[in-house]
């Protein structure tokens, strides 16, 4: 990027993939789940956090400043524990205050951004279906957020559901960690291709801070992932050829 003047660099930086996670949680300090996700997310460049409940402590919220901040990100994530089948009131207050009709509908300032939802459940996810104790699916209960994304011209991402975090084993937590980091910072949709690109990208960045011996090991790992990806690509081409012949 050295060949660009500073101004162009600034413009390019604005359009880079960046994620803002808006956290709504009235009892954040008591939440092991949020602590876990926060620690995970903090390790990512290009991922910023905003604590909505803090914004409402004391002075009035600065709507213009919040709107300006939102425009800088390509992915916006609402992260909250499910309270009475919706977000806690603080996220709704933020939406009512910051998402003015002018900002969202007239000026279209959220258009083409992605809207993700990270929702943590105290009850078992299996109950959220027809015939289950909660009757409705998570998708149905989150319709108001989906309708908002539609209205704003945003791409609504598949909600990321954290199911009874307290009951997870250590290896399940590790898997959750990787999935969460990909949800907040990988290119969507989260198919095998995009997950692998994300992994290679992270490993490449990690390499820079390591000793030469470790760098060589990481090179081997990256090489083997990329070789696997090449094989998968070859197989896909073969399958496509067979399918085309069948038709």
């Amino acid at each position: 990027m050295k060949r660009f003047p500073l101004k162009v660099k600034r413009i390019l930086k604005r359009f880079k993939m960046k994620t803002l996670i808006l956290i709504s949680h009235p009892k954040l300090a008591d939440s092991a789940t949020q602590e876990f996700l926060k620690t995970a997310g903090k390790s990512q460049a290009n991922v910023d956090f905003e604590y909505i409940d803090d914004l409402y402590k004391g002075t009035k919220i600065d709507v213009i400043q919040q709107q300006r901040q939102l425009t800088k990100y390509s992915r916006i994530i609402f992260q909250f524990p499910m309270y009475w089948y919706s977000s806690p009131a603080s996220l709704k207050q933020y939406m009512d205050d910051v998402f003015t009709r002018k900002f969202v509908v007239a000026d279209h300032l959220l258009r083409n951004k992605e809207l993700g939802i990270v929702v943590t459940l105290g009850d078992a996810e299996a109950e959220f279906q027809a015939g289950g104790g909660e009757h409705f699916t998570i998708s149905e209960l989150l319709r108001p957020f989906e309708a908002f994304a539609n209205k704003a011209g945003m791409t609504y991402l598949k909600p990321f559901v954290v199911n009874q975090f307290g009951y997870l084993e250590e290896d399940q937590k590790e898997l959750l960690l990787v999935n969460y980091l990909q949800y907040v910072s990988a290119v969507m949709p989260l198919n095998l291709d995009n997950r692998e690109k994300w992994l290679v990208d992270r490993l490449t960045k990690m390499k820079q801070e390591k000793s030469e011996a470790d760098q060589q090991k990481l090179n081997l790992i990256i090489g083997s992932i990329e070789a696997q990806q090449d094989q998968i690509d070859d197989l896909k081409v073969n399958i496509k050829m067979i399918r085309d012949q069948e038709e």
Copy 2:
């Protein structure tokens, strides 16, 4: 009721049909719709109002007092303008604060009550469907309230939708008024029987405050409604007999 001692009368009174309308509206004073509904509702005995936004001005909300109040009513109505496909934040704050897990789930203190929703729309109701500009139906968007009613063991009433009040003609407003009053105070479901019983009840009460000449006129009206009802009942019996013979 004269033959019951005072204590029994008090207990009986508690179980009489009574409605509490919880209004969530951050700009209540500017709303012609809410002003209209408020004036209408105030005319009804057994219907009380609570303005949630007022509860949050100044001091902290008294959760115990609110919970005690709620137990006195057989029908609870959430009344609000739709803000981003849900209620304004103040109703959600009230739910998060007052509807504690102990109150709702452990002690079941809302069980067997009715939960009604009166929602006012700025956009045309026709857009709220598959293929319409808003994609989802009102029923779908209000799922979180329905899920709450299920959890609390309440009977969820068909939501009462007020569609673009500002565009209504005078006669449409009169019809809205009667439908609204029945929604808040008639026995459910709102079939012809219950609507007529409600009307006769209202006319009978009205009679007490009128001159003798007016009372006679009202008696004629009430008599003719009741005669019609008798005819309808006879017809229903006949239809049932015919159907039974067919089987």
